[in-house]
Symmetry: C2
Subunit: 328 residues, 2 copies
Protein backbone atom coordinates (compact mmCIF):
# COMPACT_ATOMS: atom_id res chain seq x y z
CA UNK A 1 0.00 0.00 0.00
CA UNK A 2 1.53 3.28 -1.10
CA UNK A 3 1.29 6.50 0.86
CA UNK A 4 -1.15 8.64 -1.12
CA UNK A 5 0.16 12.19 -1.53
CA UNK A 6 -1.57 15.37 -2.65
CA UNK A 7 0.26 18.51 -3.76
CA UNK A 8 -1.41 21.83 -3.01
CA UNK A 9 0.07 24.49 -5.32
CA UNK A 10 2.09 23.77 -8.42
CA UNK A 11 5.04 26.16 -8.66
CA UNK A 12 8.76 25.33 -8.35
CA UNK A 13 8.19 23.61 -5.03
CA UNK A 14 5.16 21.65 -6.20
CA UNK A 15 7.04 20.40 -9.25
CA UNK A 16 9.94 19.46 -6.98
CA UNK A 17 7.60 17.42 -4.80
CA UNK A 18 6.21 15.72 -7.90
CA UNK A 19 9.68 14.64 -8.99
CA UNK A 20 10.68 13.59 -5.45
CA UNK A 21 7.62 11.33 -5.19
CA UNK A 22 8.82 9.59 -8.36
CA UNK A 23 12.04 8.76 -6.48
CA UNK A 24 10.22 7.11 -3.55
CA UNK A 25 8.56 3.82 -4.41
CA UNK A 26 6.42 3.73 -1.27
CA UNK A 27 4.59 6.89 -2.37
CA UNK A 28 2.00 7.71 -4.97
CA UNK A 29 0.91 11.12 -6.24
CA UNK A 30 -2.90 11.19 -6.24
CA UNK A 31 -3.75 14.75 -7.19
CA UNK A 32 -2.38 18.24 -7.65
CA UNK A 33 -4.56 21.10 -6.44
CA UNK A 34 -4.34 24.51 -8.07
CA UNK A 35 -6.01 27.89 -7.83
CA UNK A 36 -5.55 28.24 -11.58
CA UNK A 37 -7.88 26.70 -14.16
CA UNK A 38 -6.98 22.99 -13.86
CA UNK A 39 -7.12 22.63 -17.65
CA UNK A 40 -4.13 24.97 -17.97
CA UNK A 41 -1.88 22.92 -15.65
CA UNK A 42 0.24 20.20 -17.27
CA UNK A 43 1.84 17.70 -14.90
CA UNK A 44 4.94 15.61 -15.61
CA UNK A 45 3.42 12.45 -14.09
CA UNK A 46 0.95 10.52 -16.23
CA UNK A 47 -2.51 9.72 -14.88
CA UNK A 48 -2.57 12.20 -11.99
CA UNK A 49 -5.62 14.43 -11.55
CA UNK A 50 -5.35 18.21 -11.53
CA UNK A 51 -8.12 19.49 -9.30
CA UNK A 52 -9.38 22.95 -8.51
CA UNK A 53 -8.32 24.15 -5.06
CA UNK A 54 -12.01 24.81 -4.30
CA UNK A 55 -12.75 21.11 -4.39
CA UNK A 56 -9.94 19.96 -2.14
CA UNK A 57 -12.14 18.84 0.75
CA UNK A 58 -13.96 16.41 -1.53
CA UNK A 59 -10.71 14.46 -1.81
CA UNK A 60 -10.22 14.11 1.94
CA UNK A 61 -10.54 10.32 2.02
CA UNK A 62 -8.30 9.78 -1.01
CA UNK A 63 -5.17 11.47 0.33
CA UNK A 64 -2.98 10.38 3.24
CA UNK A 65 -0.78 13.48 3.34
CA UNK A 66 -1.15 16.85 1.64
CA UNK A 67 2.11 18.66 0.88
CA UNK A 68 1.34 22.36 0.80
CA UNK A 69 3.58 24.19 -1.65
CA UNK A 70 2.48 27.80 -1.20
CA UNK A 71 4.56 30.78 -0.14
CA UNK A 72 5.20 31.76 3.47
CA UNK A 73 4.20 35.40 3.14
CA UNK A 74 0.48 35.05 2.42
CA UNK A 75 -0.36 31.47 1.36
CA UNK A 76 0.72 29.19 4.18
CA UNK A 77 -0.61 31.23 7.13
CA UNK A 78 -4.08 30.66 5.62
CA UNK A 79 -3.71 27.37 3.76
CA UNK A 80 -2.02 25.23 6.40
CA UNK A 81 -4.58 25.79 9.19
CA UNK A 82 -7.43 25.44 6.68
CA UNK A 83 -6.17 22.18 5.18
CA UNK A 84 -5.08 20.71 8.54
CA UNK A 85 -8.76 20.45 9.44
CA UNK A 86 -9.25 17.81 6.72
CA UNK A 87 -5.80 16.39 5.97
CA UNK A 88 -2.48 15.42 7.42
CA UNK A 89 -0.31 18.20 6.03
CA UNK A 90 3.33 19.22 5.59
CA UNK A 91 4.45 22.76 4.83
CA UNK A 92 7.73 24.66 4.43
CA UNK A 93 6.76 27.82 6.35
CA UNK A 94 10.05 29.70 6.59
CA UNK A 95 9.38 33.08 8.21
CA UNK A 96 11.41 32.31 11.33
CA UNK A 97 9.98 35.10 13.48
CA UNK A 98 6.40 34.01 12.84
CA UNK A 99 6.87 30.28 13.46
CA UNK A 100 5.47 30.35 17.04
CA UNK A 101 2.26 32.05 15.85
CA UNK A 102 1.94 29.73 12.85
CA UNK A 103 2.47 26.74 15.15
CA UNK A 104 -0.37 27.87 17.44
CA UNK A 105 -2.80 28.38 14.56
CA UNK A 106 -1.95 25.11 12.88
CA UNK A 107 -1.91 23.13 16.12
CA UNK A 108 -5.44 24.24 16.91
CA UNK A 109 -6.74 23.28 13.48
CA UNK A 110 -4.90 19.97 13.29
CA UNK A 111 -5.92 18.93 16.79
CA UNK A 112 -9.56 19.73 16.06
CA UNK A 113 -9.39 17.90 12.77
CA UNK A 114 -7.58 14.91 14.29
CA UNK A 115 -4.60 15.24 11.98
CA UNK A 116 -0.84 15.64 12.01
CA UNK A 117 0.46 18.94 10.64
CA UNK A 118 4.22 19.18 10.12
CA UNK A 119 5.35 22.78 9.65
CA UNK A 120 8.58 24.55 8.67
CA UNK A 121 10.07 21.56 6.88
CA UNK A 122 12.95 22.07 4.45
CA UNK A 123 16.56 22.99 5.05
CA UNK A 124 16.33 26.31 6.90
CA UNK A 125 14.08 25.95 8.79
CA UNK A 126 14.46 22.19 8.74
CA UNK A 127 17.77 20.35 8.46
CA UNK A 128 19.71 23.42 9.62
CA UNK A 129 17.41 23.72 12.65
CA UNK A 130 18.00 20.08 13.53
CA UNK A 131 21.73 20.64 13.40
CA UNK A 132 21.45 23.71 15.61
CA UNK A 133 19.46 21.62 18.12
CA UNK A 134 21.87 18.65 18.05
CA UNK A 135 24.85 20.99 18.40
CA UNK A 136 23.35 22.83 21.36
CA UNK A 137 22.26 19.63 23.11
CA UNK A 138 25.63 17.90 22.72
CA UNK A 139 27.85 20.92 23.37
CA UNK A 140 26.01 23.18 25.82
CA UNK A 141 29.07 25.44 26.19
CA UNK A 142 29.49 26.76 22.70
CA UNK A 143 28.60 29.12 19.91
CA UNK A 144 26.33 28.72 16.86
CA UNK A 145 27.18 29.93 13.40
CA UNK A 146 24.92 29.77 10.34
CA UNK A 147 26.20 30.79 6.91
CA UNK A 148 24.09 30.77 3.76
CA UNK A 149 25.21 30.22 0.20
CA UNK A 150 26.62 30.17 -2.23
CA UNK A 151 23.12 30.58 -3.51
CA UNK A 152 20.41 32.64 -5.08
CA UNK A 153 18.37 34.76 -2.70
CA UNK A 154 14.90 35.22 -4.14
CA UNK A 155 14.14 38.19 -1.91
CA UNK A 156 17.30 40.06 -2.85
CA UNK A 157 16.85 39.27 -6.55
CA UNK A 158 13.31 40.66 -6.34
CA UNK A 159 14.64 43.80 -4.63
CA UNK A 160 17.06 44.39 -7.50
CA UNK A 161 14.34 43.93 -10.09
CA UNK A 162 12.17 46.59 -8.44
CA UNK A 163 14.82 49.28 -9.12
CA UNK A 164 13.99 51.67 -11.95
CA UNK A 165 15.94 50.84 -15.10
CA UNK A 166 16.48 47.17 -14.20
CA UNK A 167 15.09 44.65 -16.68
CA UNK A 168 16.16 41.55 -14.76
CA UNK A 169 18.63 40.46 -12.12
CA UNK A 170 19.86 37.78 -9.83
CA UNK A 171 21.63 37.98 -6.48
CA UNK A 172 23.99 35.44 -4.94
CA UNK A 173 24.65 35.29 -1.21
CA UNK A 174 28.20 34.03 -0.62
CA UNK A 175 29.79 33.11 2.72
CA UNK A 176 33.13 34.78 3.38
CA UNK A 177 35.74 32.00 3.26
CA UNK A 178 37.97 33.66 5.88
CA UNK A 179 35.07 33.81 8.32
CA UNK A 180 34.30 30.12 7.77
CA UNK A 181 37.94 29.23 8.35
CA UNK A 182 38.07 31.30 11.53
CA UNK A 183 35.01 29.48 12.86
CA UNK A 184 36.38 26.06 11.89
CA UNK A 185 39.66 26.86 13.65
CA UNK A 186 37.79 27.09 16.94
CA UNK A 187 38.64 30.77 17.40
CA UNK A 188 34.95 31.57 18.16
CA UNK A 189 35.09 34.91 16.34
CA UNK A 190 32.46 37.60 16.80
CA UNK A 191 31.41 38.26 13.21
CA UNK A 192 29.57 41.31 11.91
CA UNK A 193 26.98 40.96 9.17
CA UNK A 194 29.55 42.28 6.69
CA UNK A 195 32.20 39.80 7.78
CA UNK A 196 29.97 36.76 7.26
CA UNK A 197 28.52 37.15 3.76
CA UNK A 198 29.13 39.04 0.56
CA UNK A 199 26.46 39.78 -2.04
CA UNK A 200 27.05 39.47 -5.75
CA UNK A 201 24.50 40.85 -8.22
CA UNK A 202 24.07 40.17 -11.92
CA UNK A 203 21.91 42.87 -13.45
CA UNK A 204 20.38 43.35 -16.88
CA UNK A 205 19.81 47.08 -17.37
CA UNK A 206 17.06 48.43 -19.61
CA UNK A 207 18.25 50.22 -22.71
CA UNK A 208 19.54 53.68 -21.87
CA UNK A 209 19.30 53.18 -18.12
CA UNK A 210 21.86 54.91 -15.89
CA UNK A 211 24.01 51.99 -14.71
CA UNK A 212 25.95 54.05 -12.19
CA UNK A 213 22.72 55.08 -10.51
CA UNK A 214 21.42 51.50 -10.50
CA UNK A 215 24.63 50.24 -8.93
CA UNK A 216 24.50 52.97 -6.30
CA UNK A 217 20.86 52.24 -5.49
CA UNK A 218 21.61 48.55 -5.06
CA UNK A 219 24.65 49.07 -2.87
CA UNK A 220 22.91 51.60 -0.63
CA UNK A 221 19.61 49.74 -0.26
CA UNK A 222 18.95 49.45 3.49
CA UNK A 223 18.55 45.97 5.03
CA UNK A 224 19.13 44.23 1.73
CA UNK A 225 22.59 45.45 0.67
CA UNK A 226 23.86 48.47 2.65
CA UNK A 227 25.37 46.33 5.45
CA UNK A 228 27.26 44.06 3.04
CA UNK A 229 30.15 44.23 0.63
CA UNK A 230 28.19 44.07 -2.60
CA UNK A 231 29.45 43.70 -6.14
CA UNK A 232 27.31 44.51 -9.17
CA UNK A 233 27.93 43.10 -12.66
CA UNK A 234 25.96 44.35 -15.64
CA UNK A 235 25.34 41.58 -18.14
CA UNK A 236 23.05 40.93 -21.09
CA UNK A 237 19.72 39.14 -20.89
CA UNK A 238 21.30 36.27 -22.83
CA UNK A 239 24.15 35.97 -20.35
CA UNK A 240 21.73 36.01 -17.44
CA UNK A 241 19.72 33.22 -19.02
CA UNK A 242 22.77 31.19 -19.99
CA UNK A 243 24.79 31.49 -16.77
CA UNK A 244 22.31 32.29 -14.03
CA UNK A 245 19.04 30.46 -14.59
CA UNK A 246 19.70 27.81 -11.95
CA UNK A 247 18.47 28.06 -8.36
CA UNK A 248 21.45 26.75 -6.40
CA UNK A 249 21.78 27.29 -2.68
CA UNK A 250 23.23 25.82 0.47
CA UNK A 251 25.12 26.86 3.52
CA UNK A 252 26.75 25.85 6.76
CA UNK A 253 25.65 25.30 10.35
CA UNK A 254 28.59 25.14 12.71
CA UNK A 255 28.59 24.50 16.45
CA UNK A 256 31.85 25.33 18.16
CA UNK A 257 31.95 24.04 21.72
CA UNK A 258 34.12 23.05 24.65
CA UNK A 259 34.21 20.10 27.03
CA UNK A 260 36.28 19.00 30.00
CA UNK A 261 36.37 20.07 33.65
CA UNK A 262 38.30 23.17 32.63
CA UNK A 263 36.64 23.42 29.19
CA UNK A 264 40.06 22.56 27.83
CA UNK A 265 38.94 20.61 24.74
CA UNK A 266 37.44 22.17 21.62
CA UNK A 267 35.05 20.49 19.23
CA UNK A 268 33.65 21.63 15.89
CA UNK A 269 30.46 20.18 14.42
CA UNK A 270 29.87 21.30 10.84
CA UNK A 271 26.86 20.58 8.65
CA UNK A 272 27.07 21.69 5.05
CA UNK A 273 24.64 21.68 2.14
CA UNK A 274 25.64 22.31 -1.47
CA UNK A 275 22.49 22.24 -3.56
CA UNK A 276 22.05 22.50 -7.32
CA UNK A 277 18.34 23.15 -6.89
CA UNK A 278 17.02 24.80 -3.77
CA UNK A 279 13.34 23.93 -4.48
CA UNK A 280 14.07 20.31 -5.40
CA UNK A 281 16.10 19.73 -2.25
CA UNK A 282 13.44 21.38 -0.10
CA UNK A 283 10.85 19.19 -1.82
CA UNK A 284 12.89 16.10 -1.08
CA UNK A 285 12.90 16.98 2.61
CA UNK A 286 9.14 17.65 2.48
CA UNK A 287 8.50 14.21 0.99
CA UNK A 288 10.59 12.43 3.65
CA UNK A 289 8.64 14.26 6.36
CA UNK A 290 5.37 13.40 4.64
CA UNK A 291 6.30 9.75 5.24
CA UNK A 292 6.86 10.57 8.91
CA UNK A 293 3.55 12.47 9.13
CA UNK A 294 1.73 9.48 7.68
CA UNK A 295 3.25 7.10 10.21
CA UNK A 296 2.72 9.40 13.17
CA UNK A 297 -0.90 9.84 12.14
CA UNK A 298 -1.35 6.05 11.85
CA UNK A 299 -0.02 5.75 15.40
CA UNK A 300 -2.70 8.11 16.61
CA UNK A 301 -0.60 11.23 17.09
CA UNK A 302 -2.33 14.55 16.50
CA UNK A 303 -1.59 18.26 16.23
CA UNK A 304 1.23 20.44 14.94
CA UNK A 305 4.74 19.00 14.82
CA UNK A 306 8.12 20.22 13.61
CA UNK A 307 11.32 18.42 12.62
CA UNK A 308 12.24 18.51 16.31
CA UNK A 309 9.40 16.10 17.14
CA UNK A 310 10.08 13.39 14.56
CA UNK A 311 12.05 10.24 15.41
CA UNK A 312 14.52 10.03 12.48
CA UNK A 313 13.55 6.41 11.71
CA UNK A 314 10.11 7.65 10.59
CA UNK A 315 11.74 9.40 7.62
CA UNK A 316 13.01 6.21 6.04
CA UNK A 317 11.05 3.52 4.19
CA UNK A 318 13.28 0.91 5.83
CA UNK A 319 12.32 -1.07 8.93
CA UNK A 320 13.98 -0.50 12.26
CA UNK A 321 15.95 -3.74 11.88
CA UNK A 322 17.15 -2.75 8.39
CA UNK A 323 18.21 0.69 9.62
CA UNK A 324 20.15 -0.73 12.57
CA UNK A 325 21.91 -3.25 10.33
CA UNK A 326 22.69 -0.96 7.40
CA UNK A 327 23.05 2.58 8.71
CA UNK A 328 23.74 2.53 12.45
Amino acid sequence: MSIRIGIFGYGNLGRGVESAIAQNSDMELVAVFTRRDPDTVKLRTAGVAVVSADKVVEMADKIDVMIICGGSATDLPVQTPALAKSFNVVDSFDTHAKIPQHFENVDKAASEGGHIAMISVGWDPGMFSLNRLFGNAILPDGKDYTFWGKGVSQGHSDAIRRIEGVADGKQYTIPVEAALEAVRSGADPELSVREKHIRECFVVAKEGADKARIEKEIKEMPNYFADYDTTVHFITAEELKRDHSGIPHGGFVIRSGKTGFDLEHKHIIEYRLKLDSNPEFTSSVLVAYARAAYRMSREGMRGCKTVFDVPPAYLSPKTGAELRKELL
Copy 2:
Protein backbone atom coordinates in the same frame (compact mmCIF):
# COMPACT_ATOMS: atom_id res chain seq x y z
CA MET B 1 14.17 18.13 40.00
CA SER B 2 17.40 17.06 38.39
CA ILE B 3 17.82 13.91 36.35
CA ARG B 4 19.79 11.55 38.59
CA ILE B 5 22.63 9.92 36.68
CA GLY B 6 24.82 6.94 37.53
CA ILE B 7 28.09 6.14 35.77
CA PHE B 8 29.01 2.47 35.44
CA GLY B 9 32.76 2.19 34.78
CA TYR B 10 35.25 4.97 35.39
CA GLY B 11 37.78 5.08 32.55
CA ASN B 12 38.22 7.80 29.91
CA LEU B 13 34.56 7.60 28.95
CA GLY B 14 33.29 7.61 32.53
CA ARG B 15 35.39 10.66 33.35
CA GLY B 16 34.05 12.32 30.20
CA VAL B 17 30.48 11.68 31.34
CA GLU B 18 31.32 13.11 34.75
CA SER B 19 32.58 16.34 33.20
CA ALA B 20 29.65 16.52 30.75
CA ILE B 21 27.14 16.23 33.60
CA ALA B 22 28.80 19.28 35.17
CA GLN B 23 27.92 21.19 31.98
CA ASN B 24 24.22 20.31 32.16
CA SER B 25 22.36 22.00 35.00
CA ASP B 26 19.32 19.72 34.77
CA MET B 27 21.45 16.69 35.68
CA GLU B 28 23.06 15.43 38.84
CA LEU B 29 25.69 12.72 39.24
CA VAL B 30 24.55 10.39 42.01
CA ALA B 31 27.11 7.61 42.00
CA VAL B 32 29.98 6.05 40.08
CA PHE B 33 30.12 2.24 40.02
CA THR B 34 33.43 0.46 39.67
CA ARG B 35 34.77 -3.07 39.64
CA ARG B 36 37.89 -1.80 41.39
CA ASP B 37 38.13 -1.21 45.11
CA PRO B 38 35.97 1.93 45.52
CA ASP B 39 38.48 3.39 47.97
CA THR B 40 41.05 3.61 45.18
CA VAL B 41 38.83 5.64 42.84
CA LYS B 42 39.05 9.43 43.16
CA LEU B 43 36.30 11.42 41.42
CA ARG B 44 36.55 15.02 40.25
CA THR B 45 33.07 15.89 41.56
CA ALA B 46 32.72 16.51 45.28
CA GLY B 47 30.15 14.58 47.30
CA VAL B 48 29.48 11.79 44.82
CA ALA B 49 29.54 8.19 46.04
CA VAL B 50 31.89 5.60 44.56
CA VAL B 51 30.14 2.25 44.86
CA SER B 52 31.24 -1.28 44.16
CA ALA B 53 29.74 -2.67 40.95
CA ASP B 54 28.43 -5.62 43.00
CA LYS B 55 26.05 -3.34 44.85
CA VAL B 56 24.59 -1.57 41.84
CA VAL B 57 21.09 -3.05 42.16
CA GLU B 58 20.75 -1.60 45.65
CA MET B 59 20.79 1.86 44.06
CA ALA B 60 17.98 1.16 41.62
CA ASP B 61 15.54 3.68 43.10
CA LYS B 62 18.15 6.43 43.41
CA ILE B 63 19.16 6.62 39.74
CA ASP B 64 17.04 7.74 36.79
CA VAL B 65 19.53 6.78 34.06
CA MET B 66 22.68 4.67 34.21
CA ILE B 67 25.34 5.57 31.63
CA ILE B 68 27.39 2.44 31.00
CA CYS B 69 30.99 3.30 30.17
CA GLY B 70 32.47 -0.14 29.49
CA GLY B 71 34.13 -1.42 26.34
CA SER B 72 32.26 -2.95 23.41
CA ALA B 73 34.36 -6.10 23.13
CA THR B 74 33.54 -7.82 26.40
CA ASP B 75 31.91 -5.37 28.87
CA LEU B 76 28.80 -4.02 27.17
CA PRO B 77 27.44 -7.30 25.74
CA VAL B 78 27.11 -8.45 29.37
CA GLN B 79 26.63 -5.21 31.30
CA THR B 80 23.94 -3.53 29.23
CA PRO B 81 21.41 -6.41 29.29
CA ALA B 82 22.15 -7.03 32.97
CA LEU B 83 21.70 -3.39 34.01
CA ALA B 84 18.67 -2.79 31.75
CA LYS B 85 16.69 -5.10 34.02
CA SER B 86 16.97 -2.59 36.87
CA PHE B 87 17.76 0.77 35.25
CA ASN B 88 17.15 2.98 32.27
CA VAL B 89 20.52 2.72 30.54
CA VAL B 90 22.58 4.32 27.79
CA ASP B 91 25.62 2.68 26.21
CA SER B 92 28.08 3.39 23.39
CA PHE B 93 28.27 -0.13 21.91
CA ASP B 94 30.24 0.41 18.71
CA THR B 95 30.87 -3.00 17.13
CA HIS B 96 28.75 -2.27 14.04
CA ALA B 97 28.39 -5.86 12.90
CA LYS B 98 27.09 -7.01 16.28
CA ILE B 99 24.54 -4.25 16.83
CA PRO B 100 21.50 -6.35 15.74
CA GLN B 101 22.39 -9.09 18.26
CA HIS B 102 23.10 -6.57 21.02
CA PHE B 103 19.80 -4.87 20.27
CA GLU B 104 17.89 -8.15 20.65
CA ASN B 105 19.55 -9.03 23.95
CA VAL B 106 19.09 -5.58 25.41
CA ASP B 107 15.53 -5.20 24.15
CA LYS B 108 14.50 -8.39 25.91
CA ALA B 109 16.07 -7.32 29.20
CA ALA B 110 14.80 -3.74 29.08
CA SER B 111 11.27 -4.79 28.12
CA GLU B 112 11.14 -7.30 30.97
CA GLY B 113 12.52 -4.75 33.38
CA GLY B 114 10.18 -2.01 32.17
CA HIS B 115 13.01 0.32 31.23
CA ILE B 116 14.41 2.27 28.30
CA ALA B 117 17.81 1.11 27.03
CA MET B 118 19.52 3.36 24.48
CA ILE B 119 22.37 1.59 22.71
CA SER B 120 25.15 2.56 20.32
CA VAL B 121 25.14 6.24 21.27
CA GLY B 122 28.14 8.40 20.40
CA TRP B 123 29.38 9.71 17.09
CA ASP B 124 29.92 6.53 15.04
CA PRO B 125 27.62 4.82 15.71
CA GLY B 126 25.53 7.79 16.74
CA MET B 127 25.67 11.19 15.08
CA PHE B 128 27.26 9.72 11.94
CA SER B 129 24.49 7.11 11.76
CA LEU B 130 21.84 9.83 12.02
CA ASN B 131 23.45 11.70 9.17
CA ARG B 132 23.56 8.56 7.04
CA LEU B 133 19.86 8.05 7.75
CA PHE B 134 18.88 11.66 7.02
CA GLY B 135 20.95 11.63 3.82
CA ASN B 136 19.40 8.40 2.57
CA ALA B 137 15.86 9.49 3.43
CA ILE B 138 16.17 12.89 1.76
CA LEU B 139 18.19 11.81 -1.28
CA PRO B 140 17.16 8.23 -2.12
CA ASP B 141 19.20 8.31 -5.35
CA GLY B 142 22.69 8.77 -4.06
CA LYS B 143 25.88 7.46 -2.54
CA ASP B 144 27.18 7.40 1.04
CA TYR B 145 30.72 8.21 2.04
CA THR B 146 32.15 8.01 5.54
CA PHE B 147 35.69 9.18 6.27
CA TRP B 148 37.34 8.99 9.69
CA GLY B 149 39.98 11.25 11.12
CA LYS B 150 42.22 12.92 11.52
CA GLY B 151 42.30 10.97 14.74
CA VAL B 152 43.82 8.38 16.97
CA SER B 153 42.68 4.81 16.35
CA GLN B 154 42.93 2.88 19.59
CA GLY B 155 42.81 -0.50 17.84
CA HIS B 156 45.62 0.37 15.44
CA SER B 157 47.73 1.90 18.20
CA ASP B 158 47.29 -1.31 20.19
CA ALA B 159 48.33 -3.38 17.17
CA ILE B 160 51.57 -1.41 16.86
CA ARG B 161 52.33 -1.84 20.55
CA ARG B 162 52.02 -5.62 20.27
CA ILE B 163 54.96 -5.77 17.82
CA GLU B 164 58.21 -7.05 19.29
CA GLY B 165 60.66 -4.26 20.00
CA VAL B 166 57.97 -1.54 20.28
CA ALA B 167 57.88 0.28 23.61
CA ASP B 168 54.95 2.53 22.75
CA GLY B 169 53.12 3.93 19.75
CA LYS B 170 50.21 5.88 18.40
CA GLN B 171 48.42 5.68 15.06
CA TYR B 172 46.50 8.43 13.29
CA THR B 173 43.87 7.69 10.67
CA ILE B 174 43.82 10.54 8.14
CA PRO B 175 41.30 11.03 5.32
CA VAL B 176 42.86 11.61 1.91
CA GLU B 177 42.10 15.22 1.00
CA ALA B 178 41.87 14.48 -2.74
CA ALA B 179 39.24 11.82 -2.10
CA LEU B 180 37.20 14.22 0.03
CA GLU B 181 37.40 16.85 -2.68
CA ALA B 182 36.32 14.37 -5.35
CA VAL B 183 33.28 13.41 -3.26
CA ARG B 184 32.40 17.05 -2.55
CA SER B 185 32.60 17.83 -6.25
CA GLY B 186 29.72 15.44 -6.90
CA ALA B 187 31.85 13.12 -9.04
CA ASP B 188 30.63 10.07 -7.04
CA PRO B 189 34.01 8.34 -7.20
CA GLU B 190 34.46 4.65 -6.43
CA LEU B 191 37.17 4.75 -3.79
CA SER B 192 39.36 1.87 -2.69
CA VAL B 193 40.34 1.48 0.94
CA ARG B 194 43.77 2.88 0.07
CA GLU B 195 42.31 5.91 -1.68
CA LYS B 196 40.19 6.98 1.30
CA HIS B 197 42.54 6.99 4.28
CA ILE B 198 46.22 7.05 5.08
CA ARG B 199 47.73 5.77 8.32
CA GLU B 200 50.49 7.59 10.17
CA CYS B 201 52.33 5.86 13.01
CA PHE B 202 54.52 7.32 15.73
CA VAL B 203 56.58 4.59 17.31
CA VAL B 204 58.92 4.45 20.28
CA ALA B 205 61.33 1.54 19.73
CA LYS B 206 62.91 -0.34 22.60
CA GLU B 207 66.66 0.10 22.96
CA GLY B 208 68.50 -1.94 20.36
CA ALA B 209 65.34 -2.95 18.49
CA ASP B 210 65.52 -3.40 14.72
CA LYS B 211 63.59 -0.39 13.43
CA ALA B 212 63.60 -1.57 9.84
CA ARG B 213 61.94 -4.81 10.87
CA ILE B 214 59.37 -2.98 13.03
CA GLU B 215 58.49 -0.66 10.16
CA LYS B 216 58.14 -3.61 7.80
CA GLU B 217 55.96 -5.52 10.25
CA ILE B 218 53.67 -2.52 10.69
CA LYS B 219 53.33 -1.80 6.99
CA GLU B 220 52.63 -5.43 6.12
CA MET B 221 50.20 -6.19 8.93
CA PRO B 222 47.05 -7.59 7.32
CA ASN B 223 43.69 -5.82 7.89
CA TYR B 224 45.30 -3.10 9.99
CA PHE B 225 47.91 -1.57 7.65
CA ALA B 226 48.63 -3.65 4.54
CA ASP B 227 45.78 -2.13 2.51
CA TYR B 228 46.81 1.45 3.30
CA ASP B 229 49.59 3.85 2.53
CA THR B 230 51.26 3.86 5.92
CA THR B 231 54.05 6.06 7.19
CA VAL B 232 56.09 5.19 10.27
CA HIS B 233 58.02 7.72 12.33
CA PHE B 234 60.35 6.64 15.12
CA ILE B 235 60.36 9.12 17.97
CA THR B 236 61.42 9.21 21.61
CA ALA B 237 59.17 8.44 24.55
CA GLU B 238 59.40 12.13 25.50
CA GLU B 239 58.28 13.24 22.04
CA LEU B 240 55.37 10.78 22.12
CA LYS B 241 54.25 12.13 25.45
CA ARG B 242 54.72 15.77 24.46
CA ASP B 243 53.18 15.68 20.99
CA HIS B 244 50.82 12.71 20.93
CA SER B 245 49.11 12.29 24.28
CA GLY B 246 45.79 13.75 23.14
CA ILE B 247 42.90 11.64 21.85
CA PRO B 248 41.61 13.73 18.95
CA HIS B 249 39.29 12.28 16.33
CA GLY B 250 36.57 13.18 13.90
CA GLY B 251 35.51 12.53 10.36
CA PHE B 252 33.03 13.17 7.61
CA VAL B 253 29.70 11.69 6.50
CA ILE B 254 28.80 12.77 3.01
CA ARG B 255 25.66 11.97 1.03
CA SER B 256 25.92 12.76 -2.66
CA GLY B 257 22.55 12.55 -4.38
CA LYS B 258 20.48 13.58 -7.37
CA THR B 259 17.00 14.98 -7.84
CA GLY B 260 14.78 16.03 -10.74
CA PHE B 261 12.77 14.06 -13.30
CA ASP B 262 15.99 13.33 -15.16
CA LEU B 263 18.15 13.29 -12.01
CA GLU B 264 19.71 16.43 -13.43
CA HIS B 265 20.48 18.20 -10.15
CA LYS B 266 23.23 17.22 -7.72
CA HIS B 267 23.24 17.81 -4.00
CA ILE B 268 25.94 17.28 -1.40
CA ILE B 269 25.15 16.90 2.30
CA GLU B 270 28.26 16.93 4.45
CA TYR B 271 28.52 16.40 8.19
CA ARG B 272 31.90 16.92 9.78
CA LEU B 273 33.27 16.47 13.27
CA LYS B 274 36.62 17.82 14.45
CA LEU B 275 37.14 16.68 18.03
CA ASP B 276 39.94 17.49 20.47
CA SER B 277 38.84 14.65 22.72
CA ASN B 278 37.11 11.61 21.32
CA PRO B 279 35.95 10.27 24.74
CA GLU B 280 34.69 13.65 25.96
CA PHE B 281 32.66 14.22 22.80
CA THR B 282 31.24 10.70 22.95
CA SER B 283 30.38 11.33 26.60
CA SER B 284 28.62 14.57 25.72
CA VAL B 285 26.43 12.67 23.24
CA LEU B 286 25.74 9.98 25.86
CA VAL B 287 24.60 12.60 28.36
CA ALA B 288 22.22 14.26 25.86
CA TYR B 289 20.70 10.84 25.09
CA ALA B 290 20.44 10.09 28.81
CA ARG B 291 18.11 13.09 28.99
CA ALA B 292 16.06 11.61 26.16
CA ALA B 293 16.00 8.17 27.81
CA TYR B 294 14.72 9.74 31.01
CA ARG B 295 11.91 11.53 29.21
CA MET B 296 10.92 8.55 27.10
CA SER B 297 10.83 6.41 30.21
CA ARG B 298 8.63 8.97 31.99
CA GLU B 299 6.24 8.82 29.04
CA GLY B 300 5.93 5.08 29.53
CA MET B 301 8.10 3.90 26.64
CA ARG B 302 10.00 0.65 27.14
CA GLY B 303 12.62 -1.52 25.47
CA CYS B 304 15.75 -0.96 23.42
CA LYS B 305 16.10 2.23 21.40
CA THR B 306 18.77 3.78 19.21
CA VAL B 307 19.43 7.34 18.05
CA PHE B 308 17.04 6.58 15.17
CA ASP B 309 14.11 6.36 17.59
CA VAL B 310 14.59 9.59 19.52
CA PRO B 311 12.70 12.78 18.63
CA PRO B 312 15.50 15.39 18.59
CA ALA B 313 13.60 17.70 20.98
CA TYR B 314 14.08 15.11 23.75
CA LEU B 315 17.82 15.82 23.71
CA SER B 316 17.48 19.43 24.76
CA PRO B 317 16.62 20.81 28.19
CA LYS B 318 14.54 23.51 26.47
CA THR B 319 10.78 23.35 26.03
CA GLY B 320 9.17 22.81 22.64
CA ALA B 321 8.12 26.46 22.51
CA GLU B 322 11.66 27.63 23.34
CA LEU B 323 13.17 25.37 20.69
CA ARG B 324 10.74 26.57 18.02
CA LYS B 325 11.42 30.20 18.88
CA GLU B 326 15.20 29.99 19.26
CA LEU B 327 16.49 27.19 17.03
CA LEU B 328 13.91 26.37 14.34
